[in-house]
């Protein structure tokens, strides 16, 4: 009797029954987790508020308008001591993006090259590529950056004894940095750029038309060479017609240093080369795995259909390999952006260096600054992974 009573009245009210009943169990666990997380959040928040008050610090983003009293050694967009912290943030972002974008381009190109070498039938070449990959990826990136900076770029000669990089007399390397010719745009140069844009649109249109025609009639059209002709030819013609409105500002030694042209500091060179060398070895591994992932039967089938090796590579192997290469490649690009933050170790003024270190030390607004830096990196990551997902949808196997 007593047992029955307890069972009837205790339905759902007894603690152990809530925890063990499948209907309530997941709700119960979620509430517990939510309460714990909210309590932890409140605990951190109240401590922070108390600590800020105790140290006489104010919260909020008002400090962004006030002037930053320090100078920055190198910036893509113009900066002078006395600009606002918001401008410092933008300087940091552009410096980071410059480094990351060129590092992404070069590491991808070199990585593809090494990845193909790794698969070469020539034993020596494939061994050489394999050892490059093994050595580079088993050594910390930060150590490599320091090595390039301290052992290579920091001991370069003075401007007067500059190294002439390609022997052309226009690329110079010395302990102040790397000097290269900078383009000086003439008045009518925009016409060339506009023609280039138009040519790209036309080439794309031709590609779409050619594909449709091949689907309908089976006739092939030399899309690639036509596109090359249009994209390079049309702007060139326009460039010549408008009177070649582009000059190169070539750096020249004046006094103690080079004047004119563009330049990047040694720290940039060191971090750039370290990033490229380091990530190229990962790209190489991805390319190798991607090409190996295409089964040999595909090659054989394509040969038996009568395709030549070149066409087989272009129409059968590479499209399938790209499906395996691109997803990890894009997450590698994210890593390049993130790893460019190591530039701080050699004093290249990237976002982390100018904003998260110097500005934070000067203004003391730790929470806001850390949040803004994280926001930037998260935006970049989300953008890149959004592109990844879009591409993935385009190329993934359509299984029904």
């Amino acid at each position: 009797m007593a047992v029955v009573d307890r069972g009837a009245s205790g339905q759902g009210s007894s603690f152990s029954e809530i925890v063990n009943d499948q209907r309530y169990r997941s709700v119960f666990y979620q509430i517990v987790v939510a309460v714990v997380v909210m309590w932890a959040g409140w605990y951190l928040f109240s401590n922070t508020a108390h600590n800020l008050e105790a140290r006489g610090m104010s919260a909020g983003f008002g400090f962004l308008g006030s002037t930053a009293g320090f100078s920055i050694a190198f910036s893509v967009i113009p900066y002078e001591a006395g600009d606002s912290y918001l401008w410092v943030y933008l300087v940091g972002i552009t410096n980071t993006l410059l480094l990351a974008v060129v590092a992404i381009i070069f590491s991808t190109l070199i990585g593809f090259f090494v990845g193909v070498l790794r698969l070469s039938k020539n034993w020596l070449i494939s061994q050489l590529a394999a050892w490059y990959v093994e050595i580079i990826r088993n050594t910390p990136l930060l150590l490599q950056i320091l090595f390039w900076y301290l052992a290579v770029f920091a001991i370069l000669p003075r401007p007067k004894q500059s190294i002439d990089v390609f022997g052309l007399g226009i690329f110079e390397l010395n302990n102040r940095g790397f000097y290269f010719p900078a383009p000086v745009l003439g008045e009518l140069f925009w016409l060339t750029m506009a023609t280039l844009l138009a040519a790209i649109v036309v080439a794309y249109g031709i590609a779409v038309w050619a594909k449709k025609r091949q689907n309908d009639t089976g006739e092939r059209f030399p899309v690639f060479w036509t596109a090359v002709g249009i994209v390079f030819g049309a702007p060139l013609v326009m460039f010549v017609i408008t009177g070649s409105p582009l000059e190169w500002d070539i750096p020249a030694l004046k006094g103690f240093n080079f004047r004119g042209g563009g330049s990047v500091p040694p720290a940039f060179c060191a971090v750039f080369i370290a990033l490229v060398v380091y990530h190229a070895c990962y790209v190489a591994e991805m390319v190798r795995a991607g090409i190996l992932s295409v089964s040999h039967g595909q090659t054989e089938a394509s040969y038996s259909l009568g395709l030549k090796p070149g066409l087989t590579l272009r129409l059968v192997i590479i499209p399938q390999a790209m499906r395996a290469i691109v997803p990890p490649l894009i997450s590698l690009w994210m890593n390049v952006v993130k790893n460019s933050s190591l530039a701080i170790a050699v004093g290249y003024p990237d976002l982390v260096a100018v904003f998260m270190q110097t500005s934070l030390n000067q203004s003391g607004h730790a929470i806001e600054i850390v949040a803004m830096v994280m926001l930037f990196y998260m935006t970049v990551s989300l953008t890149i992974s959004g592109a990844l997902n879009y591409y993935n949808k385009l190329v993934q196997l359509k299984e029904r």
Binding site: S26, Y29, Q30, V33, A34, V37, L44, N47, T48, H50, N51, L52, A54, S120, K121, N122, W123, L124, I125, L128, E134, I135, R137, N138, T139, P140, L141, L142, L143, Q144, L146, F147, L150, A151, A154, M334, K338, N339, S341, L342, I344, A345, V352, M356, Q357, L360, A366, I367, V370, V373, M374, Y377, M378, S381, L382
Partner: protein, 451 residues
Amino acid sequence: MTNLDASASEVTFKPKPSLPPPPNTVGVVGWVRKNLFSSPLNSVLTLLSLYVIWVVVSNTVEWAFINAVWEAESRRECLDKVGLSGACWAGVSHWMKNFIYGRYPDDEIWRVNLAFGTLIVWMAPFWFPRVTGKMAIGASAIIISPFLLGYLFAGGEKGLFLQLMVSVAIASFIFSWAHVLLCLSTGRSLWDTIVNVSGFASKADNVQKYPVIGAFVVLLVAVFAWQSGWQLEGQSTNLWGGLFVTLVISGIGIAVSLPAGIVLALGRRSKMPIIRVFCVAFIELFRSVPLITVLFMAVTMVPLFLPEQINPVKIVQAIIAVCIFSSAYMAETVRGGLQAIPKGQYEAAQALGLNYWKMMTLIVMPQALKLMIPNIVGSFIGLLKDTTLVSIVGLYDLLLMLKAVSLNPQWNGLHTEPLFFGACLFFVLCFIMSKYSQHLERTLGAGQVRK
């Protein structure tokens, strides 16, 4: 006629023995032709790479060995002897102790050695085939040993909790090695031996544990009484450094990130929306920002987050950052493994009537982790390399120690040699780890190879 027939049948066709393959397709010559000089382009590439190898190797050997200076008192002496054409290894060997132990006092270095030695001996049973209960030994090595090792490193006053945990650690160590020795000599576990000796063998299964617990408690009391008598001199964490601190940070990172990553990955795949949202937010936040920002966050914000009276030391802040960061990465690695397990495995486990945790620990996780061994070890290697970033927030890990040599007046400007040495050291450590993971993959994956 018959004779002729017989002779005709006797003249059967006998093939001549086949000729040996052409000499230029077998042996060294054949191999070289096939792999190095199969076409004109390949020949050019081979010669080119031979040249590259020659240039790199000869210059390195000349710099690192032939022209190198092994004995000198200062960098000036090295420069006077060979200039920049040879390495100055004297500086590296002068600083070797600092590379390994940081600025830990010389008289106390035995404590660091003892701690690492203890850990190695604690883990050694993993490689003995006849020992049972390896999981328990491994778990004790990961969960309990840090109290003992941490006390050996830091020393100082022992609170009651620390006294207890150090005693538990020592008692567990003695217990597991008693178990190992019994297994190796008699083939029976410590558990069985204690149960037999105490005469509980005939009792019900659920009371057999009491003599074992009793034995452990007796041992614990004895150890507790003994350990309260000694105390080590306190060593500030500022003195920790070098390879020692690199291994401490990455070791704790590895020990924390694997279980934390498993929990986060399960949370991410859970059907409970609130738990899933928290896990996804944590993983995505910390995976999309660089480790440096997490380190800076830990250094600048942890003091703000905690109550005023708690003042965490820098190494603890760095360890928190490394653990958070690597857990997020490990979670994604484990998730990859979980996704590779076919749905039928889950359904089979449920059909057997297993609950969620049993399904995960007995059926799914072992398969998922086995599949993911290369990636998990890859994460560990990444973690070991990433640990060097703590040097940016001013911890004297191996990298900052290597860099610090050049600031010493005696070795002013000596950059290349220490960094070269450090690169070799990291390469050896990481290379061993990756080779070991390939070995594990082969041995554990043996059941999955389809021939």
